[in-house]
Symmetry: C2
Subunit: 312 residues, 2 copies
Amino acid sequence: LLHAAKVDRQAPILTVQYMFFKRVHIFGVGLIGGSFALALKRAGLAGHIAGSDSEKTLEKALTAGIIDEPCKLDSVRALDNSDLVYLAAPVRAIIHFLETDAKFIKPGALITDAGSTKREVCRAAREGVPQGAGFVAGHPMAGSHNSGVEYARADLFEGASYAVVIEPQPGESNSGASRTLIDVVKAIGGVPVLTTAEEHDRVVARSSHAPQLLSTALALAVSKRGGDMARLSGRGFLEMTRLAMSEWSVWEDICRTNADEIAAALAEVIGETESLVDRLKGGDLAGIGDRFNLARRFAEQLHRPGRSKGQQ
Amino acid sequence: LLHAAKVDRQAPILTVQYMFFKRVHIFGVGLIGGSFALALKRAGLAGHIAGSDSEKTLEKALTAGIIDEPCKLDSVRALDNSDLVYLAAPVRAIIHFLETDAKFIKPGALITDAGSTKREVCRAAREGVPQGAGFVAGHPMAGSHNSGVEYARADLFEGASYAVVIEPQPGESNSGASRTLIDVVKAIGGVPVLTTAEEHDRVVARSSHAPQLLSTALALAVSKRGGDMARLSGRGFLEMTRLAMSEWSVWEDICRTNADEIAAALAEVIGETESLVDRLKGGDLAGIGDRFNLARRFAEQLHRPGRSKGQQ
């Protein structure tokens, strides 16, 4: 895979540099971390891949050929010779890693993460990642109903948006690292979406976090009306309450690190809903129809075929 | 199919009566009306099936063998010899039919509807259906993303809840008609759910109508933040905005005939959402977690396998 063609104007020959990471470390070998390892290998980008996670997960990952070497979670020596460190744990664990362990990473290595929120992660990286190592925050919009390394697959990122956080940073090392991450994302089939930590958190609060809590609020509201509700529920209701089955352990970190934007996003949805309630009470069917049709046109654009598959 | 075993205590023999409708009329031959016709035929319950709808739809239904005879929408003579009249048009058309045309239905016939709301339909039936004809309101919780007679299928109702409205009515004819509809629902594979018009409208406001308008409100709120949103949207967001693509022509009637309950249901969801927003702003992660887990347990019950497939 061609990474960058460097033309040395002083020399009469063209130097072609291939992108290859001799040693990779995956911190958190779940659906995302495991799939990233498989995708790297399939693309021919990686040599030796080590992973740290719970013993049980590492055993599964080793058996499935996803990693070559298991590392204990508290073993940081493995990091000092890694060329690429991929942080795919929950956000709080990523932040802790950046604050505490990132200093062991060797100069010149690429460090990136797959956390669901970006402002707190970037803050931790600014404090904890040593000068010389290149940290670039990322967020693959990929996933499935199923989590866990047993669902990892090499094509998880194919056609999916992959946020790459471009921060205004001093120095060249970060912009080089950003270019490298963009090339990696493309090589594994993803669609790089350049953003800032602030824009990312604002956008995903609306496109991911608010929908999650809205599903939770709907399930809560209906649960209080008693069990008879379930007998007369339709497909649409099941669809709107599926997200409510998400694990709090994942969402706790997201709510903690993006609370302000999620609150603002939910307030916007409350405002639109209140406007519909007012019109229902006032018998303004035409007004509801206008809003209904506006929403329909927007939703049809979102759902039209050919858009990035946008899994979450 | 055994409808009822009548024991005549005066006679020494057991009379067994089979349920069979010699002439059926389907008013509105779309997904539901067409599927009902196919299901009746498959169960051996129907002889001749006539249908009224637009000319184009009737042509499709005739070609596909769903109906035996097309009737113009304004032709009511067909009704005076029907044994079963099935109203599967939008709610406002059902109400208009009951107020204007139901008087042509012959005594002893079973009249039922598949409308999405029930209070206004039952009011119209009380005013328009002649004494002697048995009207029982119904609502199959069946459907699919696709509407139209081209998607009709004989097994649409299999395993799906089917609301049968039991109203406190004077006279025997209605309770006999209710028993007949319940038998029909069972014969086509549905699961009869006995309810009243008030309970039905209260429940579906929460399990169907509020989720619809919540999806609309979410799409509206996000659409106002600009197009970049779409690049970083995930699977959960697509799921929560799919209902927003519904046709207003269907929902206008529902909003018109169930406005009070829908407004109340949305206000309940707003209340739960506001409570989450307050906790986000106050940093009360534990409080959000409690609600998250309550909602998750409820949603898991709703989604567990073996429940009525509950399509909408």
